[in-house]
């Protein structure tokens, strides 16, 4: 048959790669996304490095540079010795930022991952089955949405006590309804497409249809929303830390540095601007990387 030959010509070479290899190829073409990914990877490396350093030196560096107060350097502006200056207790901002990476990034990413699993499951069940199930799940979500996320986080932490797990949980829970709504809407727009019906007619079960047909097709808005939520999560940690129920001082969490800096904003701009910029760049990087990932995973944009 004619098409056989043309088929051969068209296909040479692109068959052998896996989905992820191909996604990576496409991801690489998007410069901005690569830059975002590199920055996020850099932050991950930094946080692992500080963890390892602390283990090896049994917190020596941490104690000497990150939390040790030196009031003679109080609010010192940026200089050759202290590139980003010092905070209100004379601690070097650069060190605090480096050591703070793991708190902000870890809590931000992990809490959104938890929220994504929770919201994803609830949203896809609600969207897929519709009717009473949908009503039940979404009305509960509405109740959650009606409570301001900060108030709910405070309530959760006060009920369960401070600590890393509870903090993660308190940031994840308020994000669940937001993500559930987006997943639900996205699933609903996909579930009536003909290929879902076609999948059913070759004997696929509900679980399989949701996992293989609906979620992958509904993923784009979810990825974007999740990467945006990481930024929101980092900011909520800051808020909770400010209230004294987040990351406990003197741990150098970015948000808590930022919050503490408010009082000194007029005298020492560097304490608020620099952590603020870090949060902004991190969130931006996560966003562009998430955006690029979405485009790379969409086979329709392949060529």
């Amino acid at each position: 048959m004619n098409e056989k030959q043309t088929g051969n010509i068209v296909t040479n070479g692109i068959n052998s790669r896996s989905l992820w290899a191909e996604a990576w190829l496409r991801f690489k073409r998007n410069r901005v996304a690569v830059a975002g990914l590199i920055f996020v990877a850099f932050l991950i490396v930094v946080s692992i490095a500080t963890l390892v350093l602390d283990l090896v030196t049994s917190n020596e560096i941490y104690n000497a540079y990150v939390v040790k107060q030196n009031l003679s350097l109080k609010l010192a502006p940026p200089s050759a010795e202290h590139v980003f200056g010092c905070d209100e207790y004379g601690r070097d901002i650069l060190f605090r930022l480096i050591w703070g990476t793991r708190y902000s990034l870890f809590i931000g990413v992990v809490s959104i991952a938890i929220a994504l699993v929770g919201g994803g499951i609830l949203g896809s069940i609600a969207g897929f089955y519709g009717g009473k199930v949908d009503q039940m799940i979404m009305r509960v979500m509405d109740v959650f949405l009606s409570i301001p996320s900060m108030v709910m986080a405070i309530a959760i932490v006060s009920a369960l006590g401070t600590g890393m797990t509870n903090l993660l949980f308190s940031i994840a829970v308020p994000q669940i309804p937001r993500l559930a709504r987006i997943v639900r809407a996205s699933v609903m727009s996909v579930k009536d497409r003909e290929f879902v019906e076609a999948a059913r007619s070759v004997g696929a079960g509900d679980f399989e249809i949701i996992l293989k047909y609906i979620i992958p097709n509904a993923l784009s808005p979810i990825i974007v929303q999740a990467s945006l939520s990481v930024g929101a999560a980092i900011l909520s940690i800051a808020g909770l830390s400010f209230l004294g129920i987040g990351v406990q001082p003197p741990a150098p969490e970015w948000g808590s540095i930022l919050n503490a800096a408010r009082t000194y904003m007029r005298d020492a701009w560097h304490i608020s601007v620099i952590p603020g910029l870090m949060i902004m760049i991190t969130v931006l990087s996560l966003n562009v990387a998430g955006d690029g990932l979405r485009d790379a995973l969409d086979p329709k944009l392949k060529n």
């Binding site: 068209v10 296909t11 009717g131 290929f195 070759v202 992958p216 329709k300 392949k302």
Partner: protein, 318 residues
């Protein structure tokens, strides 16, 4: 020997705007290895019937009021979802109307064929992929393209992929819902020819839904003409094409444009199909029928066998 039989099937769609009577007591029989053509205009209930057989009627709106669908001595309408899942794809498969939308855009065609196989045969992923390659070759697509995505195929090739999925588990029965509507004429001929030869190889029965009478003439053994949710004429291709009795069938045939007839306007059947939300007492076609009498408006005609294997639902039997 009847293989699939539909008995007095009534289906309504319950919508906010009223109850739509999609099927009003349809009875049909399909013999093993035979092709039955189902012809009718848009909205006559063709696809509804196909979906009923597959058990994929929309749950919220679609309501089966009465009837039985017997497939190999099993009433499909009484089967549990689990049983249906094991029948769908393995015993009865369906080819969808529009190949552009009936393939999942994020899975490769190979994965989609393999999935149909994995659903029913307890075999490994590798074996299922091998089967996918075999199926692609069978429908005339080189096996190397198994790792490509649907958007990399042309329309005709996508339809072949859809057919490959439907045939992947050697189903005993194939429902083809307007398989060639989205294709151009040359590809249409190729696809139909391929379906015919596959059907012969695998001894599959086929329910071919179409509104193209040419397709029916070429491919079917028997034809059922459906109008407003009712079978109005049923018989062999010869019976229906040469000795049609129902005025609607006659109207259908006279609206085929003739190349050698010099006419300004094409023939059509006057009027529109009955509003499917209405309950009617008389014949559903009487408003558009030039032979209609008082009797047609009051009484509802039954499907009557007028010669062996040829039935018509009409009082006048022209």
């Amino acid at each position: 020997m009847s293989f699939l039989s539909i008995d007095n099937l009534k289906v309504d769609y319950v919508t906010d705007d009223g109850i739509v009577h999609a099927l009003n007591g349809v009875s049909l029989e399909l013999v093993q290895g035979e092709t039955l053509g189902l012809v009718g205009e848009t909205g006559a209930g063709k696809t509804t019937m196909a979906k009923c057989i597959m058990g994929i009627l929309p749950k919220r709106t679609g309501k089966i009021r009465s009837g039985e669908i017997t497939f190999e001595e099993k009433n499909l309408l009484k089967c549990s979802e689990k049983e249906l899942q094991s029948i769908r794809g393995a015993q009865i498969a369906m080819i969808f109307q529009d190949p552009m939308t009936s393939l999942n855009p994020v899975l490769t065609v190979g994965e989609q064929i393999a999935e149909a196989v994995e659903n029913h045969e307890r075999c490994g992923k590798a074996r299922a992929m091998e089967r996918a390659e075999e199926m692609l070759e069978l429908v005339g697509i080189p096996a190397e393209r198994v790792h490509e995505y649907p958007h990399q195929f042309s329309g005709g090739m996508k339809q072949r992929v859809v057919i490959a999925i439907a045939l992947a588990c050697n189903p005993k029965m194939l429902i083809a819902d307007e398989p060639t509507t989205a294709l151009d004429v040359t590809i249409q001929a190729q696809v139909l020819e391929m379906m015919q030869s596959l059907k012969r190889q695998l001894n599959t029965s086929m329910l071919l839904i179409t509104h193209d009478l040419g397709v029916v003439a070429q491919n079917c053994d028997r034809v059922a003409v459906i109008y407003a949710g009712e079978i109005v004429e049923y018989g062999t291709v010869m019976d229906v094409f040469k000795r049609m009795k129902h005025p609607y069938t006659q109207g259908l045939f006279s609206s085929i444009p003739q190349i050698n007839a010099d006419v300004k306007r094409l023939n059509s059947i006057p009027g529109l199909m009955l509003d499917p939300t209405l309950d009617v007492e008389g014949c559903r076609f009487c408003d558009r029928c030039k032979y209609a009498t008082e009797e047609c408006r009051i009484n509802h005609p039954e499907l009557v066998e007028i010669e062996s294997g040829h039935s018509v639902r009409c009082f006048q039997k022209k």
